[in-house]
């Protein structure tokens, strides 16, 4: 049962990854990418890492890919122009692909030479996923974890600094100012006598 589920899910992942590069329309590519992300979350559930699976869905599918889709959707894609550079980019692309393939092969060979150490248990001591993970993150690897957080913080601040621009002549709404405004600040009632004007 587990094996059937594994083969179904992994073939879906591989196929949708294939369609990511085969699809002509970039939006379709992103949609296939989302499908691949989501299905790999299913693979994580199969090995019992449901916490990681949910994080993958929340972070990658729910946030990152939405922004991908957001950007790609707004591009004005010209399919003819998209095809033109194909041959000139082919050597570089082929080289990259070969490098990746070689890396995968190296990893596969190295992994197969190591003897399988019994069954893989993602939940040692029957603790829940999140518990087991946090016990590692917040004790042994605390420094690395905090450093990763700092890196993310720096990246976030960098993004804000890059996009922040102060435009001097823009009138902005200030909710506090609006709600504290009283009638006497804005309106004055004047009793105009007939024939006199102000």
């Amino acid at each position: 049962m587990l094996l059937i589920a594994f083969y179904i899910l992994s073939s879906v992942v591989v196929l949708s990854a294939l369609f990511v590069i085969a699809a002509r329309n970039p939006v379709h590519s992103v949609l296939w990418l989302i499908c691949a992300f989501f299905t790999s979350a299913g693979l994580l559930v199969l090995i019992g890492a449901e916490f990681l699976a949910m994080l993958l869905v929340v972070v990658y599918v729910g946030a990152v890919a939405v922004l991908f889709l957001f950007v790609v959707m707004m591009l004005d894609v010209d399919f003819v122009e998209l095809k033109q550079g194909f041959l000139s980019y082919l050597p570089a692309g082929a080289l990259l692909g070969l490098a990746l393939l070689a890396e995968i092969a190296v990893v596969a060979v190295a992994a197969s030479s190591r003897a399988p150490s019994g069954t893989f248990d993602p939940k040692p001591g029957a603790a829940t996923n999140a518990e087991a993970l946090s016990k590692v993150i917040y004790t042994d690897n605390l420094l690395l974890f905090q450093l990763a957080g700092v890196v993310l913080l720096v990246a976030m601040i960098g993004a804000i600094v890059l996009t922040l621009r102060s435009r001097p002549h823009v009138r902005r709404q200030s909710a506090a100012q609006q709600t504290t405004r009283r009638r006497k600040d804005a309106v004055e009632l004047i009793d105009v006598k007939p024939g006199q004007g102000l």
Partner: protein, 359 residues
Amino acid sequence: MERMFEWGGGVWGGVGLAALQVLAFMVVLLISLAFLLLMDRKVWAAVQLRKGPNVVGPFGLLQSFADFFKFVFKEIVIPAGANKTVFILAPILTLTLAFVGWAVVPVAPGWVIADLNVGVLYLFAISSLGVYGIIMGGWASNSKYPFLGALRSAAQMVSYEVSIGFVIITVLLLVGSMNLTDIVDSQAGGIWNWHAFLLRPDRILLFPVMFTMFVIFFISALAETNRPPFDLPEAESELVAGYQVEYSSTPYLLFMIGEYLNIVMMCAMLTILFFGGWHSPIPIPVGDMPDWLVSLGSFLMFAVKVIFFFFLFAMVKAIVPRYRYDQLMRLGWKIFLPTSLVAVILVSGYRVFTHQFGI
């Protein structure tokens, strides 16, 4: 592994049983949705001193079914410039995701299809996927208003998810588990244990924090489900009907059912996270009542709470004017996000402090 697929004995027998359960749950959900839809319209009408739908069936009770047949028998119009596959896929995706989320919602003790250990995260993940149906629908329509509506919706849902996430974290910190059944059971024993009204002596200091979180969650739920006053993706005065402009007939119906299922789901989440799930406000001595009676009573209690929240959603729709887009973003990022972030720090600080000193 075993804990994730506990339903049923043999492998294929288990699958069949689970399929039956899922089917029954879906049918119950859809039928109650039909009446909730009617309730929405009735409440709305009552606020505006109208009668609301009152022709089909007694008191208009069958109106939703009449609407259903009307939608289904209409012709499906797909715009010529539309991206056909994505156009059809979008409403189906919305509906599927709306149903999939319900798999982990416990409606009474033990009445749940999949009792996941990461139930809350699962719900959060599924609700964050809901935005895809809208974006895909808006883009595939190949038309200006739907596209603008989809963009608005994407930005809005992503923004409010952040504060919803932090609010959920405060509840998780108090409970110490991500299992929805555990969350409900930690609120057993009376209204003073509910996270919205945390008046238990040892946690009374957190009452203002958790009540604020409850309010923030409610308002964020309105924004997350594109309900008024945050229905900017379909603001009819600006965008005609937003991402739904080009949809008609059954695809539109699927969108609408998905949307309402999400709303009811948010009501259920409010009930589970803050209103004690199926536990009654004042503990009722069970005594030697049969199990099925207790379960049924619990289920009714849960349903009453969900309907109460749905009533609130309907009332908000009736009486609150629509927000402007920049105000919506300001509320999400500048008010809710900092507030919920501070709340996470306060609650975790309180937990560590009380743990340290054994209070």
